[in-house]
Subunit: 246 residues, 2 copies
């Protein structure tokens, strides 16, 4: 009555049962079988359906909750994580002001067009030669002053029509999820420092030679699939990029 034997898997599997359960449940989100915001069946229903015990389902759901794929609320149920403008800023935007309050920048201007991907972009986004991308250039501001300039590059295949969107949304990842069914699950940033040239000085209303924080970001969807590459230069006179170590 212990150990693993199951009615659903045919191979010895190599992975622990809970990991296989998790993979199946993740797939349901990935394929759109379960949509963002949706209530999913409770632990006993899933356990019954998959032929495992409730504790095993629980461990799978726990890991998925830790990875922010699910949200569990006692007394209500388990829901597929849904991106909102606010949740996006909290999760993926690390700038804070002098007092430590999170910064929420607004778009000052933006333009987008469809281009053929440059080699560097193809490499980051793992695209084939000749693939098209949507390239967005925009300046965002905070507290009445320009804060950063961003060059955002995404595969055209994934986001058809994005370049023609009348107004590029200020927070993109919730838009990606709601309009294109692309869920951003994580990413990585690489930071360094540069001095403002003529172009940056114009964008950000600072003197040429001013120090800027440069942030290169790659964001991923399920299976570490790259869906966005972004290069930002930030005027950090009244801002700090905060990192928690541990």
């Amino acid at each position: 009555m212990a150990g693993q034997d199951d009615a659903t898997t045919t191979v010895p599997a190599l992975l622990p049962l809970y990991a296989q359960v998790k993979a199946r449940l993740v797939a349901r989100i990935q394929t759109g079988d379960w949509k963002p915001g949706q209530l999913i069946p409770n632990e006993f229903a899933l356990a019954d359906e998959l032929g495992v015990s409730q504790g095993t389902v629980r461990k799978a759901l726990g890991e998925m909750t830790a990875e922010q794929l699910l949200v569990r609320r006692q007394g209500r149920g388990t829901f597929v994580q849904q991106h909102t403008p606010e949740s996006m800023l909290f999760r993926f935007f690390n700038f804070h002001d002098a007092v430590g309050e999170p910064i929420s920048p607004e778009t000052l201007w933006a333009k987008a067009r469809v281009c053929v991907a440059k080699p560097a972009e193809r490499s980051r986004l793992r695209l084939a030669a000749g693939a098209q991308v949507v390239r967005i250039s925009r300046v965002r501001g905070h507290g009445g002053r320009p804060f950063d300039h961003e060059t955002i590059v995404v595969p055209h295949d994934l986001f058809p029509g994005l370049a023609e969107t009348p107004e590029i949304p200020n927070t993109l990842y919730d838009h990606f999820q709601q309009v294109y069914a692309v869920t951003v699950t994580g990413g990585e940033e690489k930071l360094d420092a540069v001095v403002a040239g003529e172009r940056e000085a114009g964008w950000l209303d600072v003197a040429a030679g001013s120090p800027l924080l440069r942030v290169e970001r790659t964001m991923f969807s399920f299976d570490e699939k790259p869906v966005e590459w972004r290069l930002s230069v930030c005027a950090v006179a009244n801002a700090r990029y905060a990192v928690r170590l541990g």
Copy 2:
């Protein structure tokens, strides 16, 4: 035979049993009852001693492992996390070179002295007026060139004799743990960009006006007790500060 009733706690407790168990076990590390590197009793022994079930101990140990307080190895046992120069770089040092390999800087020079804490330092380290600190100034290099200059400030109370150490160790946190029984458990960093002045240019062998990445770091021990404050300026010509998002 379910629910919580126990032989060890007197109050209804408010915290789940596993959280109380965890608090007790953390205290054993904090007080030095269990020392870094030490093998601790197995799950059943702890469960028996604390009057709870093995599963409850397991949940406590699992959280402590996630927080890097413990290391568990199947077939061997559970050990108190021990800092080493290598583990410290992996956990708390986020710089990588152009190829993405972690950078491990060596100390080029360092000097230390005991001073009265400045107000800003007292605030970060939560010290009383007039408290003494050890202030270390050093330059570290990588690939044959200076990489960063650091000003490190720690409470003198916690680290008596540190200023008189003949050679300040390159990696401090393992030294703190082994010599002073102070375990660094986490911290936070705030980044911005500056341009090199005369002083920084001399330290780092770059031209005045060069862009530098500035990192302000506060490190904590148990109970979020601050034990170090550090201000670094980094020449990032061939380096990037890497952050994982998500």
